[in-house]
Amino acid sequence: MTALAPLTTPGLDHLDALESHALFILREVVAECERPVLLFSGGKDSAVLLHLAAKAFAPQGLPFPVLHVDTGHNFPEVLDFRDRAAERVGARLIVARVQDSIERGRVVDPGALASRNRLQSVTLLDAIAENGFDAAFGGARRDEDKARAKERVLSFRDEFGQWDPRRQRPELWRLYQGRVNPGEHVRAFPLSDWTELDVWQYVAREGIDLPSIYFAHERPVVARDGMWLAVGEFVRPRDGERVEERTVRFRTVGDATGTGAVLSSARTIDEVVAEVAAATVSERGATRGDDRFSETSMEDRKREGYF
């Protein structure tokens, strides 16, 4: 007996194969679900996702709006980029603010300099419920974290927005199945199989615009919790911490209070690709304070409805 044909032709360009799979997922979810939305943080993964979404439906525009959950703790470069990117693809941008959730008493303000990372889940789930979204595209990748490595491409959320890792829907072949009952929704991750290096190679190939903070620049930083934090409105030096001027770049973009920079001299896309290819520390390990609370920080947040 001969072997079954693989799902992609051997020799099909690796990035074309990943891109095609992502376009397929985007179209499949739009066809199966009533009210999809694309979650857009302004980071590199969501920039790639937005680029793919525009490609999947061209020459028509995006058949869904774009949602930014705004912690209020932003890098200004990222907000500029968000508006520019949404405008370029003609997307309708919805901004859901953690500050509004605080003012409405849905969550408690942890203080001006504390991370609002975990609070975002409430703001996100409220926005999904208020808009009646039944599918939310996210840029999460399985290589980011051990809990994400376990998640389906289409990941079911119950009426409380919870992910139950013990009862995920079987997901066979490329038969993505996104139907839900009212109040439930799915998260859809077209970049599931992409690695950080794939993302950068794709950014380089497609010439995708990114926030400037992804490239090496000089800025005042303090060393804290094994990371370099950018001194600014949301990070003030504590007693005993010394502010230093360093050449850094960001490998991820999140809440400004908890996202670290890495020392880097990579000022161009090609230099970043080379740096990422040689990296021995993972991107979240190098840059995310929110993953350090416990052994299963990401799983715990995801259970509550996090991205």
Binding site: A3, P6, L7, T9, L12, R152, W173, N181, D193, V281
Partner: protein, 422 residues
């Protein structure tokens, strides 16, 4: 600058609980230095906290809280590894029978099964079950780690007994290649580093066997298939039909038939991401323009000869995952096949597959995780090939109409290795 494009090998781990699948993957990733330093530190810290030694390699992929507490794999973990010669997409699958649905999820897109067998225990019932499921899903290449060789002082006799058992069973299942490697994943023998403890073994290490495998190679061509997923309206009034190409490549000028309508036409143009192409390779999300005006839409299929068949009646093999049994008068179901979803009824249950004897025996119902042969009737016509001819047009899932849960994996046709005693 960009790493050169490499062939991708998609593999799934197969084997019983406690035979060392996750440890094997952990060893493979750690010894090829494909685990980031901070992830390795976290594995070491978690191992210490849970009192399971310096470095519990299974924690590299067993990332859920419950998995670490119970020391088992519950759901598939996907890992991506690049060796000097190829890219590996690894689905580390659970071994417990109650998580068969997750094992099937991981195997459904795999080209090769990496099997862990405890040499002291031999080929267990659960391993046989998984090998059968992998074979049903079309995985024909096996790399077998005859594992825990350290527990039997590297006994060549024990290794050869496992080789014999594995090869006999693999032959029955129609495997095209089987490589069995004596290993100790725990100590790192013959996984990435060649072991000095088995001087009698001259074959490849596990990594070498994976790198050399031709499991992903292209062996057949049997017509192009483009299930229409989405219709794109072009400026000027034309339409193109978007979908993922399967079977074989589609070319401009190809004579095609739009099914189930049966309209014959030709491919006038192929586009990908806005650019014109002469040929769309398998796996490309292309959109095509047809020479004739048609009313094609989502759920239709564009095909070249030999054409798939159009039918409302299916004989199919199903793996049942529902909590309640599959019965003739059971819950209302929907069937999703390519881009078409239709109500479906179970007309008959022709038998249950005994995974030990590979015989089909009479059955009234299929319980959770059982495999059976059924006949289905669909409300709308489907355009199908047999699964062993085409993995895309031969596969479907069944969905519970009320909960929308996915309750079965289905393969059109009957598996070639089954004896019918029903």
């Amino acid at each position: 600058m960009p790493v050169a494009t490499k062939d991708v090998l998609r593999l799934a781990t197969v084997g019983s609980v406690d035979d060392g699948k996750s440890t094997l993957i952990g060893r493979l990733l750690v010894d090829t230095r494909l685990v980031a330093d901070d992830h390795l530190d976290a594995v070491a810290a978690a191992s210490e906290r849970r009192g399971v030694g310096d470095l519990d390699l299974s924690f590299v992929t067993d990332g859920l809280r419950a998995e670490r507490e119970q020391g088992i794999t519950i759901d598939v973990a996907y890992r991506y590894a690049t060796t000097p010669t190829r890219k590996l997409v690894i689905a580390d699958c659970p071994g417990h029978v109650q998580y068969t649905r997750n094992m099937a999820t991981g195997s459904s897109t795999a080209d090769l099964a990496l099997v862990a067998v405890d040499v002291a225990a031999g080929l267990k019932e659960q391993t046989r079950r998984h090998l059968v499921i992998a074979a049903l899903l079309g995985v024909r290449a096996l790399v077998v780690a005859a594992n825990k060789m350290d527990t039997l002082e590297w006994s060549r006799t024990a290794y050869e007994r496992v080789v014999g058992e594995v090869e006999a069973f693999a032959a029955v299942l129609g495997a095209t290649s089987v490589v069995t490697v004596p290993t100790s994943a725990l100590f790192g023998d013959n996984v990435v580093e060649r072991s000095a403890r088995a001087p009698w073994y001259a074959g490849p290490t596990v990594l070498e066997a994976l790198e050399a495998s031709d499991a992903g190679a292209w062996e057949r061509s049997r017509g192009s298939r483009l299930p229409v997923q989405w219709v794109l309206r072009q400026p000027g009034g034309g339409r193109t039909y978007a979908g993922l190409v399967s079977g074989e490549a589609l070319r401009v000028g190809d004579a095609v038939t739009l099914l189930p309508a049966g309209v014959e036409t030709t491919i006038r143009a192929i586009r990908y991401g806005g650019r014109a192409l002469d040929e769309a390779a398998v796996g490309l999300a292309a959109d095509v323009e047809l020479a004739h005006e048609t009313d094609a839409g989502r759920g239709d299929l564009i095909a070249t000869a030999p054409l798939p068949r159009v039918t409302r009646e299916l004989e199919a093999t199903v793996c049942w995952f529902g909590d309640d049994p599959l019965e003739l008068s059971g819950r209302r179901l929907r069937l999703k096949h390519t881009s078409r979803t239709t109500p479906v009824r179970v007309r008959a249950i022709d038998g249950r597959l005994d995974v030990g004897s590979l015989e089909l025996t009479g059955a009234e119902a299929l319980a959770t995780n059982e495999i059976g042969l059924v006949r289905l009737a669909t409300a709308e016509p489907l355009v199908v090939d047999d699964y062993h001819e085409d993995r895309v047009t031969g596969s479907f899932v069944l969905v519970d109409e009320t909960t929308h849960a996915t309750v079965a994996a289905g393969m059109v046709g009957r598996p070639p290795f089954v004896t019918d005693r029903a």
